[in-house]
């Protein structure tokens, strides 16, 4: 699904992403962990064609994202929780994207129903709570019914019921054979939802393994994580 080879992104003297190599298998949920500033978001931006790598390559379904045909029908992504025009309604935000992606407008109603925003779709986004914005962003990512979902910190701002909802949503999404890459720094939330874990620190991959392998020997994900990035405070 996703193949990242020696991916590198340098901003001046700062190596935001440093020689990163990993791949994702279909039908799995992978947690992408690391301290703030470790390069998680930069990696996702490179993967999604929003930024160009300094070196190496990031392929989605065998191609660079910017060369994908009908990307919205293949990949859904949410990078920021507030990428909305506050003056536009939630429904119109989705409609504009659906038109651009040539997705029928009936699908807009479906995803609104799915994220439980059908009743508030006509309200302007400025009236939405953070949790509603997270769900609207997720609705946009799901418009094209993609097989790969890439989410950056989707649990931020969700209340416990919202986190529970997100987790069961991701589980059913992956159980249908689809793939999820989810970055987070909320270890407890991640541990309950993912099959595999990748941990990066200062742009470098420090661990990549199935969750049960990492946490073998009775250690919690938090203990493993803190052991790997010891001596660093973020």
């Amino acid at each position: 699904m996703v193949s990242v080879q020696r991916l590198t992104k340098r901003y001046g003297d700062v190596m935001a992403v440093d020689d990163l190599t990993f791949s994702l298998e279909a039908g799995t949920i992978t947690g992408f962990l690391g301290p703030n500033g470790a390069g998680k978001t930069t990696t996702l931006r490179l993967l999604l064609g929003l930024a160009e790598p300094t070196d190496g390559e990031a392929l989605v379904l065998g191609r660079r994202y910017r060369e994908l045909d009908q990307p919205a029908q293949r990949v859904g992504a949410v990078l920021e929780s507030n990428d909305f025009d506050p003056g536009r309604s939630g429904g119109d935000h989705l409609r504009a994207l659906a038109i651009a992606a040539e997705i029928p407008s009936s699908r807009v109603d479906e995803v609104l129903e799915l994220v439980e925003l059908a009743g508030t779709a006509d309200r302007r986004v400025k009236t939405y709570s953070l949790g509603m914005r997270q769900r609207l962003g997720l609705a946009a990512a799901l418009l094209g019914n993609p097989g790969l979902l890439i989410l950056d910190e989707p649990a931020n701002g969700l209340d416990p019921a919202g986190v529970h909802w997100l987790r069961s949503f991701l589980r059913s999404f992956a159980d249908g054979g689809r793939t999820v890459l989810v970055s987070s720094h909320l270890l407890a939330e991640v541990a309950q939802a993912v099959d595999g874990v990748m941990i990066i620190d200062r742009g470098r991959l420090v661990a990549a393994a199935p969750l049960d392998e990492l946490t073998g020997g009775g250690r919690t994900l938090e203990q493993v994580y803190l052991g790997l990035i010891a001596g660093r405070t973020s």
């Binding site: 930024a51 990307p71 990078l79 909305f84 025009d85 003056g87 536009r88 038109i99």
Partner: protein
């Protein structure tokens, strides 16, 4: 019509920005034309081209200005609010997105230009008549004011998209367009560094020329049209290159 263009037109329709700019333009054109109509000395509006230059041509200036702001905001507001990210995720062919913004802004911009011309004519004519001054415009003058106003605004809308794509930050982009059109160009009218007539080659002067203003100083309307089209093309190419090459934050 391409999906990208339909999406851009829908974005314009589903936001209040365009309406706000339109209303502001109406008010400003009416106000400025009214002030000039009441203030001008009767001797300075005793011919058709003088009336266009002193009074009716203000529609072209403000049509172009507000169309440029609309064009610039079509991209800077997406950058400001972050919607540029989902926009480029759905359509990562960024040049296509910029082109769609150019066409959508030109289409709406042309409408701005037509309405601004109509308001300027209506208010200008009413003001002159109230003062007992005859409106001396012929059919050709009217045609030039409408067609030229629409064309100038459409081309300035394209310039606005280009400027917005290069500058990216909303406030400097919009301020820059306003300051250039309303202030800088007025200072540069005439000779620059001793070279005669360079001011008439600037994009704002070209817009005025298209609608038939000041024929003794400015270019002929068709020459102004071609020149402004070159400016618009250059701005769009620069904006398109900048957008496709630079990373999205």
């Amino acid at each position: 019509m391409s999906a990208a263009l339909r999406a851009e037109l829908f974005k314009q329709r589903s936001s209040r920005t365009g309406v706000g700019l339109f209303v502001a333009m109406l008010g400003l054109v009416a106000f400025v034309v009214l002030l000039h109509g009441l203030g001008v000395d009767a001797g300075t509006v005793d011919g058709a081209s003088k009336q266009v230059t002193m009074l009716f041509g203000w529609g072209t200036v403000f049509g172009a200005l507000f169309a440029a702001l609309l064009g610039a905001m079509s991209i800077t507001s997406e950058i400001r609010h972050g919607t540029i990210r989902p926009t480029f995720l759905v359509n990562p062919r960024r040049r296509e997105v910029v082109a769609a913004k150019v066409w959508a802004s030109m289409l709406i911009g042309a409408g701005f230009g037509l309405v601004a011309a109509a308001i300027a004519m209506g208010v200008g004519a009413a003001t002159l008549r109230a003062r007992g001054i005859d409106v001396l415009l012929g059919t050709g003058d009217y045609a030039l004011l409408f067609a030229g106003g629409a064309a100038a605004a459409a081309l300035w809308a394209a310039i606005g998209v280009g400027v917005g794509a290069v500058v990216r930050n909303q406030v400097p982009a919009l301020t820059g367009v306003c300051v250039w059109l309303l202030f800088v160009e007025n200072l540069l009218v005439g000779d620059i560094a001793g070279v005669a007539g360079v001011g008439r080659l600037l994009p704002g002067a070209a817009a005025k020329a298209i609608s038939g203003q000041d024929p003794d100083v400015l270019l002929a309307p068709t020459v102004g049209l071609v020149l402004l089209a070159f400016y618009a093309a250059a701005a769009v190419v620069a904006g398109s290159l900048a957008t496709s090459r630079r990373d999205v934050a």
